[in-house]
Amino acid sequence: MPTVVCIELISVKKTDADRPLFRQIAAWFEANGWKYQEHLLGGDYNFLSTEAKRDNGTWKLFARTGEEVEWREVFFWSKLEMLVPEGRRNAVAEFITRSNFGHRIGFFQMSFFDGELSYHISFTVADGTLADGQVAHAVNNVLFSIDRYYPGLMEVIYGGRDPQEAWTALINRDLA
C-alpha cells in the first residue's frame, strides 16, 4: 500500500515588518500630505497609487517594492491612460528613444504588444537604506518627465507628427 502523506500548507501573513520599504514609501506620502491608496495584492505585487496635477495634466503615480534580500528594489512609475495604436508604435519608439538618450535618471517604456506607455525610475536598495530624499527625488522626477514629454507624445500619436520633429520642437521649447 502506498503511503499517503498529507502536508498542511500554512499561510504566513506578511506583516508590515516584512515590507519596510513599502511602509517607508507610504509613510513618505503621509508625511508630505499626499492622498494615496494601498493595493495589497500580496508580497511584491503590492503597490501604492496616487495622482498629482502638473502643467499638462493630472498624472497617476505608482510605487512598488521588492523586499526579498536579493531583490531589495523600489520602483516608481507613471502610466498614461491611453494605449498607443499599433500603427504609431514605431513612431513612438523613435520618440522615446530620442527622449531617453542622455536621460540620466529614469526612462520611458512602451509595450509593443498592447501600446502601454509609461515612465519609470527604479533603483536597488540592496544592503542600504531608503532615504526620504530618494523617494522625493524619484516621485518628482517621474511626474516632471511624464508632464514634460506628454505634449510631444500626443503630437506623435494623434497628430501624426514626425517623431524627430516633435522631439526637436519639445527641446527647443524647453530652451526658449
Binding site: 521588492g66 536579493e70 528594489e73 520602483f75 514605431n90 519608439a93 523613435e94 522615446i96 528613444t97 530620442r98 531617453n100 538618450f101 542622455g102 536621460h103 540620466r104 535618471i105 526612462f107 517604456q109 512602451m110 509595450s111 509593443f112 504588444f113 525610475i121 527604479s122 533603483f123 536597488t124 536598495v125 540592496a126 544592503d127 542600504g128 537604506t129 531608503l130 532615504a131 526620504d132 530624499g133 530618494q134 522625493a136 527625488h137 524619484a138 522626477n141 524627430q164
Partner: protein, 188 residues
C-alpha cells in the same frame, strides 16, 4: 588597461565623496581602472571580459546632484539606416526591465546600457554598486549578439528580442530581469 595615479588624500575624499565610494569598491574588488577627475563630475573606466566581448564600463558621480551613473557604451555606432530598427529593439528590450535601460543617440548612433541612482540624502553602499555593475555588464552581454543581428544582419527587431528572452516572437514579453551570473567572471 592603463592605470593612473590615484588621488588618495583626505581632501579628495571630502571633495568627491560619491566618487571615492566608487573607487573604494573597485579597489576592494581588485579591478583595474582609470579615473578622470572633474570639478563636479568625475568618472572612472574599466574594461571587463564577458562571454560575448570585452565591454567598457564607465561609472560617474555627480557630487552636486548626488547622482551616480553606470553605463557600458559600445564601440560601434548604429548606421543611420538601422537606427529605427535599433530603436524598436531597445524599446522592446526596455519594456519590463526593472533596473536600467538601453539608449541610443539618434544623432550619431551611439548605444549604451545605463543604470543610475539618485543617492540624495542616502548612503551609497557596496551592495548597490555591486548590483549596478552586474546589471550593466549582464544586460550588455546578454543583448549584444541579438543587437548585432539587427544592425548588421538585417534581422527583425521583434524576432531578435524574442530570441534573447528565449521565446517565439509572439508579441508577449517575458521577465527580462532573471538574474544571470556574470558571464565569465570579472577578468579585467
Amino acid at each position: 588597461m592603463n592605470e593612473v595615479k590615484k588621488e588618495t588624500s583626505i581632501e579628495a575624499t571630502v571633495a568627491w565623496p560619491l566618487f571615492r565610494r566608487l573607487t573604494e569598491w573597485f579597489d576592494a574588488n581588485d579591478w583595474k581602472y582609470e579615473e578622470h577627475l572633474g570639478e563636479d563630475e568625475s568618472y572612472l573606466t574599466a574594461g571587463v571580459n564577458c562571454e560575448n566581448g570585452t565591454w567598457k564600463l564607465v561609472t560617474q558621480a555627480s557630487e552636486e546632484q548626488r547622482h551616480i551613473y553606470f553605463w557600458s557604451k559600445l564601440p560601434m555606432f548604429a548606421p543611420e539606416n538601422r537606427r529605427s530598427a535599433v530603436a524598436e529593439f531597445f524599446t522592446r528590450a526596455n519594456y519590463g526591465n526593472r533596473i536600467g535601460f538601453f539608449e541610443m543617440d539618434f544623432g550619431d548612433g551611439e548605444m549604451r546600457f545605463n543604470v543610475s541612482m539618485g543617492v540624495a540624502d542616502g548612503i551609497l553602499t557596496d551592495g548597490q554598486i555591486d548590483h549596478a555593475v552586474d546589471k550593466v555588464l549582464n544586460c550588455m552581454d546578454r543583448y549584444f549578439t541579438a543587437l548585432m543581428s539587427v544592425i548588421y544582419g538585417g534581422k527583425d527587431p521583434a524576432e531578435a528580442q524574442a530570441e534573447v528572452r528565449g521565446q517565439k516572437a509572439t508579441g508577449t514579453e517575458s521577465d527580462p530581469n532573471a538574474k544571470t551570473s556574470h558571464a565569465n567572471g570579472r577578468v579585467h
